[in-house]
């Protein structure tokens, strides 16, 4: 790690450190009822217990697995579909409004219908993730492909690129910055949708863990869950998605067009 990125990481953590210190001091000082908000030590304790008895790991594993499966399935369908739509100006113009609409809608609005179609459990929740990622990635792929300058496609054709080479050498790399942006936004929605869906439609996962703890006034488990949810997303976003996005867009000098 360079000195600079170390310092910027420190700055990123600083406000959280302040918050934790305030928490450690103020809750005991005002003698807050643990049924309303837990002590820092209780949350740490709950975290250690969760790791030791394996329940926390189990919930995290279930949530991450659903995100991974749902996202992967969505990408497998969305990227080819987006490319196919993007190469035809007529098709892309026609379908763009539709995909914009569903991009905004995607998320917890699908929960009721998902539980009717798939019942409670893995299927319904994976479907929520799938939707959150699918519509945005399809829309972004379509946008990315349709905004590749015509002369760049012409250049490839006059250098001898056939249909397959056009796809792999021009359309996919040309749309990649948009696709990555789409995946990043879509997974953001997916993660929020996941937690909501797990509160309703399952019996394992971080959302479920939070929701059940409420029934027993276990505020320390609720807060632990909230922290884990936030930290996992930050790690995923900052350590995996953001660097990929930056690498494609900055290295290639391609302005983000979404």
């Amino acid at each position: 790690m360079t000195k600079r990125s170390f310092i910027s990481a420190l700055w990123f953590c600083a406000p959280f450190a302040v918050l934790i210190v305030l928490w450690a001091i103020l809750i005991p000082y005002f003698d807050v009822n643990p049924r309303l908000f837990p002590h820092l030590t209780a949350v740490v304790q709950a975290g250690i217990e969760g790791i030791q008895d394996g329940t926390l790991v189990q919930h995290i594993g279930a949530s991450l697995l659903r995100v991974a499966v749902g996202t992967l399935l969505a990408l497998l369908v969305a990227i080819p579909l987006g490319v196919a739509m993007g190469v035809s100006p007529v098709v892309s113009t026609f379908l763009t409004p539709l995909f914009r609409f569903f991009s905004v809608l995607a998320g917890i609005a699908w929960i009721p219908i998902a539980t009717l179609w798939f019942g409670y459990g893995f299927g319904a929740i994976t479907f929520i993730i799938f939707n959150a990622v699918f519509f945005i990635v399809t829309y972004n792929t379509l946008l990315g492909v349709s905004t590749i300058p015509l002369h760049v496609r012409n250049a490839a054709a006059s250098l001898g690129a056939g249909r397959w080479a056009m796809l792999t050498e021009v359309l996919l790399p040309g749309a990649l910055p948009n696709i990555v942006t789409g995946i990043r936004t879509g997974m953001g929605f997916a993660w929020r949708g996941l937690i909501a869906a797990e509160m309703i439609a399952t019996n394992v996962g971080l959302g479920y863990m939070l929701f059940v703890a409420r029934d027993f006034y276990k505020t320390e488990v609720i807060v632990l869950g909230m922290i884990v949810i936030g930290v996992l997303w930050l790690l995923l976003d900052r350590l995996l998605l953001a660097p990929i996005e930056r690498a494609t867009i900055e290295r290639w000098g391609m302005v983000q067009r979404a």
Partner: protein
């Protein structure tokens, strides 16, 4: 492609192009009854005012747009869509931003199925010809406009096309760089002797580069003027050259009179 002893010439007979203007609902005839004969290894410039149909002719030869009537024969074969027998250098460079300079230049050979080692050798050779060896590992957006267009020229030439088509390739670089690029192009032409169609609205540029200048106005060929200036051509010599001055004046008068 340069297979066997096929002649790398270009024959255009009675070529016309009529666009349908969707907004005005009218027919626009951009090119009328143009005939041209470009023998192998000749360098011709097509010069004319904005809107006279230069790009339309070039795009039809490249196969990017269909022609309305007439014939285009490259090495005796009728043109039917874009193909590697006709290399194109674009005004806007049209490089692949996601590929390094070396990979851009190696693109044509790659499409022909040339192996990695061999095509990188070819690419290095043409980069050296374009005085770009140092930039091989960089990405297009890290280069100046002049350097990007050198890559564009090297990329088109590395594919060894029968005919090289250039549409105002130096129009978007500053005057000094443009003169350097013009001198380099004549040097490269002498080294490789490709058949070149060079489009420009700059009369001096047209005369400086070509063996023959075709003056175009309102979609029709006005006249063709032989340029038998000695080579190698450099601006320092030609600025004060009487023959260059009188040729330029003649072409200018021709273009302006129409």
């Amino acid at each position: 492609m340069g297979v066997g002893d096929a002649v790398k010439n270009l024959v255009i007979r009675n070529l016309s192009k009529t666009y349908f203007d969707v907004y005005a609902g009218t027919q626009v005839t951009a090119v009328r009854d143009v005939s041209l004969n470009v023998p192998e290894s000749e360098f011709i410039s097509i010069v004319g005012p904005s809107g006279c149909g230069k790009s339309t002719i070039l795009n039809m030869i490249a196969g990017f747009i269909p022609h309305s009537s007439g014939e285009i024969l490259v090495g005796g074969k009728p043109v039917n869509g874009p193909g590697p027998d006709r290399g194109v250098v674009f005004q806007s460079f049209a490089l692949f931003p996601w590929r390094t300079v070396l990979e851009n230049v190696a693109f044509g050979p790659k499409m022909r199925g040339v192996g990695k080692v061999e095509r990188e050798k070819i690419a290095h050779e043409f980069l050296a010809l374009a005085k770009l060896s140092e930039a091989a590992g960089r990405y297009p957006n890290e280069l100046s406009g002049g350097m990007q267009q050198r890559v564009g020229v090297a990329r088109a030439l590395a594919n060894e096309p029968d005919v090289l088509l250039m549409d105002e390739p130096f129009a978007s670089v500053d005057a000094q760089t443009r003169m350097t690029l013009q001198e380099e192009l004549t040097r490269i032409w002498e080294a490789k002797r490709p058949t070149v169609i060079f489009i420009t609205h700059d009369v001096a540029e047209a005369v400086f580069l070509a063996n023959r200048v075709v003056a175009l106005s309102k979609g029709k060929v006005l006249d063709e003027i032989e340029v038998d200036l000695p080579r190698p051509r450099v601006w320092d010599d030609l600025h004060e050259n009487e023959q260059f001055k009188s040729l330029t004046a003649r072409v200018l008068q021709l273009v302006r009179s129409a």
